[in-house]
Symmetry: C2
Subunit: 596 residues, 2 copies
């Protein structure tokens, strides 16, 4: 069984010493979010994750969820419901929600740090409360007053949970193809009919009511994505007076048989004329859905981070314990029959790769979340606008890179265990199976890559990139004489510079050939991610100067940064070549020739 200790210390270093969130929060008007409260919240989240959620991680994998085909009710794994009750009682569901709806009004950045620990403890479990947050955001921004009145409080306090009902068998990436219909009823509501698939927490036994936010088409809807509307469609009907009524005409038709996250109920949801209420304007559902989706995408990045952390911890523990062969320079453990495998350079390569991607990734994510907070709470509208541009740019990088790195980190986790990594009892293989969903849902890595290079770069003339590069440039300037950084800054500067040039090059080519964007997208995504991490590793080293962490901790940051620059950052060499290669070699082959 894999174990997990929430990485409190590194989270604190990231929040307080590197990003320095306290003054940021104060500037945004989060008056309560001082260092003392932040640390208290983090400690409590760590305790909950370590003692309540983490022990249920393997339980959820083994038991999964059970669907009663007659009642259509879903039973979660043993302990899941009790854990959820404790989560609600602890006030976690409303941590970052508005005070007016019963939330605690804390910054999303703090919510992210606690989310990392919750997902790290138990990814499958963490999906039950997760989507309520998106539902709250969509209703808060687009819901009618009575909808806010009726739905937000129970969602925020966690007595109800939310879902996002987007995907249909023939409509995933391309939601314009969806077939679910919404016919007007006499009372102003709509009758929703259709089938949705891959609905996370679509049905379960943790709460009294489940609030489905469903994309569907009105009878007069134009074809394609501009004809989609959003409906709030609860499991038990809710009147405009807030009174909960009879069972709505919707049910879970099946649970998907999945590779991982067995503890999460992934449902086929059938809507058979279910009563739903329009949220926002007709045909503008996709806009509302994007509010949910962007927050969900960042959230999935955090899930990736959490699984990387858990895999790294498992691999490190095993690499220290497992005695096998001798160190290359001779026994370091001469009184034992063999040395720990952490003495082997290639095992260290795997551990350091995980460490560098995880700790660096944490900073990338926290930074993105501070921009999310600033986009809503900064006093100055121009600052809000700028933060919004930056977080929009960082969202696909956060989502895709942190989840892709979780594939790599859980791969390394298994690999460090050798054959034992393939066996269920050690828990490493579960991490790899669980993490495997992360590069798929809320938009595959391919979709994120296209979003980054297209909507977030080519279509904005690189607005987000320019903001990020300006930050890097300022950092380099500020640290020009810093001896700690002398070995890193010239490399960072050169990479940042190259990033800009590669961007101009590919966007220029795309002007005459739109295939160039998709052709470069994957390499551009990873190139971006690795340069962003080079920045955060340099900043980590800079932050050790005024940190109260131990000398060993600071030394480890410096050593990991050196490893990152020596062994990971050179991946940009291949990605730069991929970006420069152009579309021809991808597009030349007629589709019939692929298996000629």
């Amino acid at each position: 069984m894999s174990t997990y200790t929430a990485p409190l210390n590194d989270i604190r270093f990231a929040l307080h010493d590197v990003i320095k969130v306290e003054p940021l929060f104060a500037k945004m008007g989060f008056d309560d979010a001082n260092a003392e409260l932040i640390d208290a919240v983090l400690e409590e989240a760590a305790r909950f994750s370590n003692t309540v959620l983490s022990p249920l991680n393997a339980v959820g994998d083994q038991h999964g969820c059970k669907l009663d085909k007659t009642s259509h009710e879903v039973t979660t794994a043993p302990g899941f419901k009790q854990a959820y009750q404790q989560f609600v009682e602890g006030g976690w569901t409303g941590l970052t929600s508005a005070v007016e709806y019963g939330g605690q009004g804390m910054p999303e950045t703090l919510g992210m740090a606690t989310s990392e620990m919750v997902s790290g403890g138990n990814l499958a479990w963490s999906l039950f409360p997760l989507l309520s947050h998106g539902a709250v955001e969509a209703l808060k921004h687009y819901g009618q007053d009575w909808q806010k009145e009726v739905f937000l409080k129970p969602l925020v306090e966690g007595t109800w949970t939310g879902t996002m009902c987007l995907t249909e068998p023939h409509a995933g990436t391309d939601l314009g193809l969806l077939k679910t219909r919404a016919e007007p009823n006499a009372d102003g509501s709509y009758a929703i009919t259709g089938t949705k698939i891959f609905i996370t927490a679509g049905e379960h036994d943790l709460v009294d009511n489940i609030v489905h936010l469903v994309l569907a088409k009105l009878p007069d809807a134009p074809a394609g994505p501009k004809g989609i509307s959003l409906f709030v469609t609860p499991k038990f009907k809710v009147g405009q007076d807030g009174v909960v009524g009879e069972r709505n005409a919707l049910h879970c038709g099946a649970l998907e048989h999945k590779m991982g996250i067995h503890g999460s109920s992934t449902c086929v949801m059938n809507f058979d004329g279910a009563q739903g209420w329009l949220v926002g304007e007709p045909h503008k559902g996709l806009q509302a859905m994007f509010v949910m989706m962007n927050s969900a995408r960042l959230g999935v990045g955090i899930q990736g981070l959490s699984q990387s952390e858990r895999a790294t911890q498992g691999a490190l523990r095993y690499a220290r314990e497992r005695l096998q062969s001798r160190a290359p320079k001779g026994a370091i453990n001469p009184d034992k029959p063999a040395d720990p495998i952490i003495a082997q350079p290639d095992v260290r390569r795997m551990l350091l790769t995980n460490k560098a991607l995880t700790e660096g990734g944490r900073l990338l994510a926290i930074h993105a979340y501070t921009q999310l907070d600033a986009a809503q709470h900064a006093k100055d509208p121009a600052e809000r606008e700028q933060a919004n541009t930056l977080v929009s740019f960082l969202t696909p990088i956060t989502k895709a890179c942190l989840t892709e790195w979780s594939i790599e980190a859980t791969y390394n986790g298994i690999q460090a265990f050798g054959g034992h990594g393939f066996i269920a009892e050690h828990g490493m293989e579960q991490l790899a199976r669980d993490a495997r969903i992360l590069t798929l849902y809320e938009g595959t890595t391919g979709i994120q890559a296209l979003d980054l290079i297209g909507r977030k770069t080519a279509m904005t003339q690189g607005a987000g990139l320019k903001l990020f590069l300006a930050e890097v440039e300022q950092f380099i300037k500020d640290n020009a004489g810093n001896p700690l950084l002398a070995e890193f800054l010239p490399v960072l500067g050169a990479k940042a510079n190259e990033w800009g040039k590669l961007t101009i090059d590919v966007v220029t080519r795309a002007a005459s050939n739109p295939e160039e964007l998709g052709a470069a997208s994957n390499d551009y995504l990873f190139y971006s991610g690795y340069v962003v991490l080079a920045y955060w590793w340099a900043r980590s080293v800079a932050a050790t100067a005024n940190s109260s962490q131990t000398d060993a901790f600071k030394q480890a940051k410096l050593e990991t940064a050196r490893f990152y620059y020596a062994r990971i950052l050179p991946r940009t060499l291949s990605h730069a070549a991929g970006i420069a290669a152009g579309a021809d070699s991808l597009m030349a082959m007629d589709q019939a020739r692929f298996d000629a």
Copy 2:
């Protein structure tokens, strides 16, 4: 459910047009192995795989194996036993075994091509007959005459199967640590006592008897790997007269719960004073085991190839069928609501990556097997010696790269399916779970990488590399004026040259610091694999000139080669940087600081 069609056509192209095996086989004295017979064998293997094995692939995953805790008998999944009987009746178990023991004496190269199809049809099933081959090789080379007499025929004809019992809970990579004991009995046999884990096909219901080749220590054994002996220890005792007697004192204590290959019985085997017979000399068991292991390592490479092929086929089919969004340059399917996703450049990147790694990897493997055949059957002793050097060098590359590429190919397979890739019914997630064992067993990728850079390169002064590079140089010279190759050869030549230089560089550094080998090993492995594939892609293009394949097939080879050189070969840039980076950044961190 994923489907599979054995890639007969590409195998034929590889064997006949690129490697040109017929004259090679004739030179080695395989008089029967002419083109007609080769094709007949390939076709029959394809038929068996497509119609018998492939339909059982998902069945094995769902049913797994069942252990009766009272009788210690293991029942395989429905259909597995019948398929095995057909396999035996078809004479497949003895295809490459010596005629004197009932085999058909065909080249290993041909066996490899059929193995790819068998594993592609059903990886888990293919593990039941697989290890008999290694057992036959070990007994043939090291067994006493009566042992050959008694064990080889039933192993070759498939009425019995073999196992390799190496690993113990505390001894995996480091077999010197093993604890299983062998005490002499009065009758010349030994009483074997100990626990072995991860024993593939250790117990099952497909055959009458199971022949375990067990590593154990004699009472007077010196410590470490030089104190290990090999014993043949059948499930049912077998007298020197060949009479099968009573049940031996060994049994399957448990089946491992694994991430994948559920259809294969991976056993904990308990030996409680079981009767075993010494094979070869005392304390020299590891030598005999290496005979089995080298052949098994190449075999695992083929398993990787087979899963890459299957994943590629699944992804290609889906990418053509799945209609979602529009092609970047506008609708190519204007009468349908959307275009197939194969129109998307990034989906093509995944498909072409799989195609390039799979078809190129096939040639790398076939080439290695021709050297394996030549090492045994070439008329000239110098040629045998040279072939042996080359196959020894190519074995870790084949094993590690083909299995690592299967991780990538099955990753791409899932990714092309989007969320559907995570769902069991499409079969793509099974491929990823099944392939996940391949970089672990028979020596992890880390072990292969160390074998390549250490034993096979540094310790031989690059003997294998020099042979390979000489072949590349000759090919470049022979094709100096070939217009088809003009775009590839300068790049290939430069990479081959760089490979030599990087090797000298790292081996030189290792002379003063043995950690340099392990530090560079992983990058050196991949660097090597990608340059080898660059050679095979150039040779594939060259071979199209005199091939009877269709124009579309030849055009696809040229286009895939171009893709390979443009988008995959540049990975060598990062790997070269990793090789050059040196050991310091890996070794600096004290092990206590990893989570300081």
